[in-house]
Amino acid sequence: MMLFIPFFIFSQKDTTTFEEVTIKGNHFKANQHSTLSQEDIQQLAPHDLGTLLQYVNGVTIKNYGGIGGMKTLSHRGLGGEHTQLVIDGVPINDPQNGQNNLGNIQPNNLEEVKVSHQNENSLVPVSSLIKGSSIHLRTFDQQFSPNLLSVRSSITLGSFGQQEAFVALKNGGQKTFLSLTGGLRSYKGNYPYRLSYGNETKEVLRRNNALNDYYLSIGGGFKWHNHKAHHVLKVSAKTSAVDQELPGAVIFYNDMAQETLKTQNTNTGINYSLISKNFSLKAFGQYAHRFLHYHDPTFLNQEGFIDNRYTTNSIIGGVHTRYRLNNFIFHVGNDLGYDMLLSSRDLGNPTRYTNTAMLKTKYQMKYFSAEVSVFAQSFLDRNNIQSHRNDYHKFHPQLAVFTSDQLFENLQLFAWYKPSSRAPSFNELYYSQVGNKTLTPEESSQVDVGFKYFKKINKFEFSVNGNIFKNEVRNKILALPTQNLFVWSIQNIGKVDVFGSDIHIATQYKINNDWSINLQTGMSYQKVVDISNSNSPTYKHQIAYTPALTGNATISANYKNIGLHATGLYIGERYSLNENILSNRLDPYMTFDVSANYAIKLKTKHTLKLHAGIKNIGNASYNFIRYYVMPGRNYFIKLSYEFN
């Protein structure tokens, strides 16, 4: 189903260092995150956020094509709706689709990406804490800088007509910043792919796959302090537009798709933080406007085309406070959101209030810390085409236990339990014929036991992180054909059992002042099986498009100003339908990317960087989703200029 595009908001992060010093004390430094740093992001040179997140352990990206192709996320067997995207501290939602198209979030201004599974002390929106997991993005646009002027800019050229330009300017100072960021992307997308016809292989060009987009953002911030309290205020306004062709799945003998999709997102937000020794508070507010225009000029209805327009307006605001008393840390928070959808289709005029309230207590002992929290989730839906809809209220307790450095040096053990609900999206509820107004929220629960180990010996750093998890999804919302093959409907019938584990190893070896080597590798195994109905042919079969085994590895070597990088990604076998039979099976695949960069210090603080690489160097012919073909070997070159 089509997804829409979110866009960037604002936030705070520069105070985090301060928070961590204040809060963590002698407790273990490692957070429950998988983090990609700015360096990691630059080395991977991803087209978009979806491509980037493939390198985060436990995240499966459902990939519907190259640049511009829809990318959605599944984390530890839970659908993308169970993951909250947070950009610069503000949650980004798409109430119409329930999840964001990660293919339309460009990565040029990203400074950090982290995937968080578990509750933490930082003052993030509580709506991201209730979700199964959350992705936090930090952008250049919303960070304070002591420099009068900072510049980030780049030009990228790549295969299949990829052209990108990006420029970000920031005026910083001791108390304020003002940023202006803009970017353009253009892509022809006419990549060749191989179709295997029995014993024969045919090379075909992908068509109707072009994309043009732009975005623009302005941000500003002001900070001050008095009486041991720091105050930070940030504002932002952003707009973006994506104009793309939709190639769809490759259909044999019928390469005539002409569908197009236009999206426009505009939003504006404000974010305030107060941080003092014992009491901290963060509040945010955001208004988001999304417009989507789908057009199919060849549809065989009376008019001869489909032309649908959708407008979503969302307002969200929240407060999260933290109070420290001796060995206790108390958190209280609440997020309230309102969404409404208008469209040219007969979806009615759906609205929703979403409220998430949280009470949390953390108790720190010498060897352990324990967290107990209670969340209350409410979804209040209304639509003029539905006379009555039950409100949904649910309490979810969460528990977590961690060991401290005092118990094991360099090793942390932890365990947590986390239940959550996700509301059906407006499309799932109301989309004509397909939608089902009687849907109830899908409920998940996660149990995780894991460890982190960190060791530094002279110039050698080594960290390992491992987890075993047992998840469950009840009332899973599934689209199924009902009356016949063509009339699908969304139903609350599924139950899914997830059992798996993942391990991630990172090492860094700084040989001398000139040489350093980084190596990281991760593997994830997940058994995600359908346990809806023991009489079904798919009982205990792995659910569709959920590879049991995935893995990735990245190695980079740096010598002075030169960096060499290689990455590999493995996606195990998966099935296009829930029935695990040969005709539904998709082969595993592996892709490798290599790249090199060279940095020139022009003058003090001026850096010119050249980065060139080859993606899918083995020219693997692959698709994650059946017949959504992916590009073969392709090239890119990126020239960046940075000041400060």
Binding site: A249, N301, Q433, T482, E579
Partner: protein, 349 residues
Amino acid sequence: MNSIKYIIIALIVLTSCKKDKTEPLTEGGYSNGILVLNEGLFQLNNSTLSWVNLSTQDVTTDLFLSVNNRPLGDTGNDMLLYGGKIYITVTGSSTVEVIDRNTLKSIKQISFNYNNQAQEPRNVVSHKGKVFVSSFDGYVSAIDTTSLQITKRIKVGRNPEGLCVSNNSLYVANSGGLDYGNVDTTVFEINLNTLMVVDTFVVGDNPGAVIADNYNNIYVVKRGDHGANPSELVRINTSDKSVVNLGIPATSFTMVDNQLYISHYNYTTSSSSVAVYDCASQAMINSSFISNQDISTLYGITPFKSDQFICFDAMNYTNSGYLRFFNLSGQLTNSINVGLNPNSIIHYE
């Protein structure tokens, strides 16, 4: 997933129409078996042919691919044997595959593209050296079975589906199913000499399958709106031009000796039923021919040999389907697992 286009579509039932009699077998590689067309699912290019060996009960899958070294394509909706050739309408791929009955080798792949737009062929029927194919773009195409060229495109109603021949007329059900909320309601009569539309019958919302008896009647499934307006059997009398809704729940049917075997799948209750209706007396003979327990998702019925019926079991449309064999008393005698969404067979003696 990008199938918004298709999700919207409100239609399609297996159409079993009055086709020219199954021809006697000639010598060939395929005998004593059943050729099955599996429709597959939209956008998965997984429409296939299966071969059921009746002596061993073995099933060979993906036969079209292994014989022709290329796949059949996306959504094979109907299959007809005529003049030693098999015609398969492949809706998603927008092709009609013409294959040799004995070797299953492709003789011609007829592209159903018009002005670079997919026409989406749906059903096929034969008459006097021609086959007629309905396509979603609102046409019935006449194909010469010797040259395999489209000789005429006849403009009909919206999104035509079921076809049948009776008394030198071709009847076409215009579904209009791609206009949800504003479907078509008509059956057109085309004179087979002039290939002109000569009459129109209003039968109710979203007509699908059509079939003729020997008493100048045409039976139509009007599928309604899948809600308050149910899927029912409508009778057109071609002599006095009357149209009567018989009020019998129906999704598809087959005709044997002027007895109409009407299959119905009620998706609300997930129950499958077959009713037997006598066309001579216009009376219901048996309203529950088979037991609901024997079938998961009834997708159509077809006669097999002289004393059996095969019901297509679509297994919720997403799991590999079954041929369910029933005897004349409606008892299940055999089940054979075939491909995804089986919808038509050809019996090789």
